[in-house]
């Protein structure tokens, strides 16, 4: 949610249980403007909140251009913000193994046991324990949620001839019919599944628009719940893999946005839960 358009976004997200109290909105409006200035960012978005047992983490993301790169910040009170550390892919893998809730204390330490099988000594494997602070786990969780859920409507971004991804200022919103189809939404990230498409499938795509993965290829099928809401004025997509992630788009208008309010845990049991 852009800080400038927090209220219209909340109008569409609130029916999915995402609300911000007046106090939080007032604090965000002020503190994120200051953060944008202090960090010399072009835009800052409110990303959502991760609920800990003793306290919640509010997350904001800023970027300097339209590309994929972002900087993430967290705050316990929506006033003072601290930058989240960059997470190495190896550490991110260990963080994904941590079970249980966030405690609400950024310096809380989790211990992760990893089995190193390549070092064969006697029984064949060595258990290595690493300690990870909650702050690092938080950074990894935000990155993981972004990777699997940060989505945009097809056409909202485009690839220029010089391979730069930028906001498509000509985007006027999806049509009412197209907005209700899962194929009309793409992952805003470096493409992964797109590369495995056959040349025949790629021949039908528009090079300027279909340069990202469509969410219709996500596994398992039906891992997104798509609904017309608010008297069909908006389309709401909810991720079932990351319960708490909600995306909305108002058809025939360029407005779209998303927020995450949840415990920061991936739902690995989805396959049993699908009706």
């Amino acid at each position: 949610m852009d800080v400038q358009s927090l209220s219209p976004a909340l109008d569409h997200l609130s029916s999915s249980g995402i609300v911000l109290s007046t106090e939080r909105r007032v604090s965000l409006d002020t503190s994120l403007t200051l953060l944008m200035h202090a960090e010399k960012l072009k835009q800052v978005k409110y990303w959502g909140r991760i609920q800990g047992v003793a306290a919640d983490y509010h997350i904001a993301q800023g970027s300097n251009d339209d590309g994929y790169a972002t900087k993430s910040f967290y705050s316990m009170d929506c006033i003072r913000w601290a930058q989240l550390p960059e997470i190495h892919p190896v550490l991110a893998k260990s963080c994904a193994k941590i079970r249980g809730r966030f405690t609400g204390n950024p310096s809380h330490e989790f211990t992760v046991e990893a089995i190193r099988s390549e070092e064969t000594k006697g029984d064949g494997s060595i258990v290595v324990t690493t300690t990870i602070t909650e702050e690092k786990r938080l950074a990894a969780a935000v990155a993981a949620i972004d990777k699997e859920t940060r989505i945009v409507p097809r056409g909202a971004y485009r690839m220029t001839p010089s391979d730069v991804v930028e906001r498509n200022h000509g985007f006027g919103g999806l049509s009412h019919q197209a907005a209700g189809k899962i194929e009309s939404y793409m992952h805003f990230r470096q493409p992964i599944t797109l590369l495995s498409k056959s040349p025949l499938e790629r021949a039908r795509m528009d090079q300027g628009l279909d340069f990202m993965d469509s969410i219709s290829d996500d596994i398992p099928k039906n891992c997104w719940s798509i609904q017309y809401q608010n008297g069909s004025k908006a389309v709401v997509l909810r991720s079932l893999i990351w319960p708490g992630f909600v995306f909305f788009h108002t058809p025939n208008s360029p407005l779209f946005g998303h927020a995450y309010v949840g415990t920061g845990q991936r739902n690995n049991d989805l396959i049993f839960e699908l009706p």
Partner: protein, 500 residues
Amino acid sequence: MADFESAKAFLLQASDHSGLSVYEHLSTLITRLLDERPNNAADVVEQLSFQIKADKFAPEDSLKDQPETPDNVLTAKARSTLLKHETEIPEDEAEPEQVVPNLLDLARYFADADVGLGEQEMFRIFLALKQLAEQQPLKSVTFWGKIFGTEQDYIIAEAEYREGEEPQPEEEERPDEQPETPDEGEEDEENGVTPLPKSTYKPPPDLPTEEYGAGTNKKVYFVCNEPGQEWHLLPNVKPKHISVCRQIRKRFTGRLDAPVVAYPPFAGTEMELLRAQIARITAGTHVSPVGYFTFDEEEDDGDDEARDNFIVDEEFEGKSLAELLEADLSGWVHHAPYILPQGRSKWVNPNLKGEEDELDEEDEDEDEEEEEEIEPEAGPPLLTPLQNDDDVDGLPAWSTRLSSTAHPAYACVRVSSNRWPGAHAFAVDRKFANIYIGDGLKYQAEPFSPQLPPPAQVEYSGEDVAEAVDPTRQEEEEFEAQMAEEEEDDLDDEDEDEDD
């Protein structure tokens, strides 16, 4: 010159897809650039080119199905039934007891604590509750919460009927007395075929459902997908549904008649599953500040069994924020009865049969006594403080928050369940409320592993079925030789007969 001609001919070629030629496109582009004269024209030239193409773009399926009445009109029509303005101003003297609470006031406290559905939706729900109170003979109705489905969401209202207007208890279904379908085996026997073996499995007897007004069915629940739509009454919850519901993990679709495909099998549709989950969530998460409810001392005769009703303590003046925020949660109590493992709030002995059966089967009483006596299941009594709740995954079962840090004096306290994510309660002064906004799934610390089906039946090993050893070639030859000999003998006999 020839080069120029061929180049121009190429540029004039129309594209197969859009029918546009480069020549035409460039001339439109240059015309538009000169018309509009944008700043930094060289930087926006791609965008402008894209824009021109987009303007011309004709969608492939220009013939679209236009529904007779668009969805938004249907929703608006449903919502318009809610909008009725009361012209009569209520008189001061006769203050009728309000059936619907001031939901907007309660929603404001929840919104301050970052919980809710937004002002507009809350107001619509409030109107829908009012409509429900007009349609049904209700004593009180409150907003229970919202459960998200994959296709539609459920809005749930919790209600109590006025005295004397309760629905009559339905006749208990007796699956035992169902006329047995004529066995196919009998027919087979007549035809001379051995009948197939019959299953000896008898399902465990269903425990009696608690009647309206008691335990898990203390209140009734109405559900709709969108405020303004018709409210559906959910059936009373049955113990077998609760016990199966605890073993499965299913998301709701939003259709009450959707089948529930799960193992162990769930006997019912999503309607029953929803009702069972509501019962579990209510039992686990409906809490109030200690002292708000109290046991009726006049009726209380010291017997534990009498303690299943409580009344509002009129003298209760509210707990201070500090008491409600206490980390050990001693300021809050459960006011919904605990559901026992058997799926009821009041324990019944599953081995005891119905009264009618007992009369018929007095002779069998001696046999029954020999059966093992079952230890009655017991749960915590009503109004037990939250501090006695079991931990969730090593962490406390409830999280407490103060709604405002800017001015704590006007804040309220929110408690959120960690066992049922999405269940919240707030309290301030004499006010408190419970709400559930979530997926209807319990928190699970460990990965879910569904119950495995029972092992396959052991193969029949009866002695009357013996396998014969395959004959060797030698034995076959011997057999053939023997047969040949016998045939010869037969022929000889026949010859002899003919001779006679």
